[in-house]
Symmetry: C2
Subunit: 161 residues, 2 copies
Amino acid sequence: MQAINFKPIGVIHSSFKSVDNMPIQPVGAKNVKAVIELYHEFEEGLKDLDGFSHITLIYYLHKVVDFKLQVMPFLDIETHGIFATRSPLRPNAIGLSTVKLIKIENNFLYIENADMLDGTPLLDIKPFFAQFDNRENSKSGWLDRRWKEKNRKLISDDRFK
Amino acid sequence: MQAINFKPIGVIHSSFKSVDNMPIQPVGAKNVKAVIELYHEFEEGLKDLDGFSHITLIYYLHKVVDFKLQVMPFLDIETHGIFATRSPLRPNAIGLSTVKLIKIENNFLYIENADMLDGTPLLDIKPFFAQFDNRENSKSGWLDRRWKEKNRKLISDDRFK
């Protein structure tokens, strides 16, 4: 299997300096602000992005050093296959978050609901489009079951450190 | 900027051998079936994924040889910044599709609404969860405007060949 090489197109500046007490998913990061610094050479690629209220970020989980095929995710007390969770300990440490786009100034994008670590290398920005990206009537196995419990929390603990 | 290396975790088998007449996004690929062959070494990571009706695939757009910062996407006749489109000609050739998961047999995943080329290297599988992934009240600039037009088409032409 040949390696596939990507290069960061920018870096995400956020207030999360370590994985302690990180929010879980953008839904756990309501109103949390961050700034994307897109490298100057890509700035021209932002044309018309300001018409979008949400963008989907694909990024490198740069603090992850190894992967596990089965994990006990923050939201559960049972183990699941890594591909049935959003845990960062994935074979390819790729993160995916849809965030609110507040404004763009030159090569800086101001975002909200940001659940990334400070210094996260950005790989791609995709415009969110409900007709492409929302799904109705989806079923989500163990996540559906856990989500209904009252005392679920959307803050990390130290299990992935 | 240092390169980031990923390795394929599997390969997507589909009926699309070239980009001619490819569907645009899973929404343009209704009922189109495909099979994911996850490499054996990762099979253990599928535990409990069968409870999910939808999965989000992150993959390498392996036929893309170069990128453009501004493109005229299939759905429009004006140019937009690459990050305001879902065009494959991105600085990092990363594809993102949420597809229906029909069944899992050992290391094979049978999917529907698949808009990928045959032989596409798979990088990650994330379970779709409406509470994490759906967004209400989103605005999508030029895409909102074009989507309302009656004669939009969801099939590719040759402009990205």
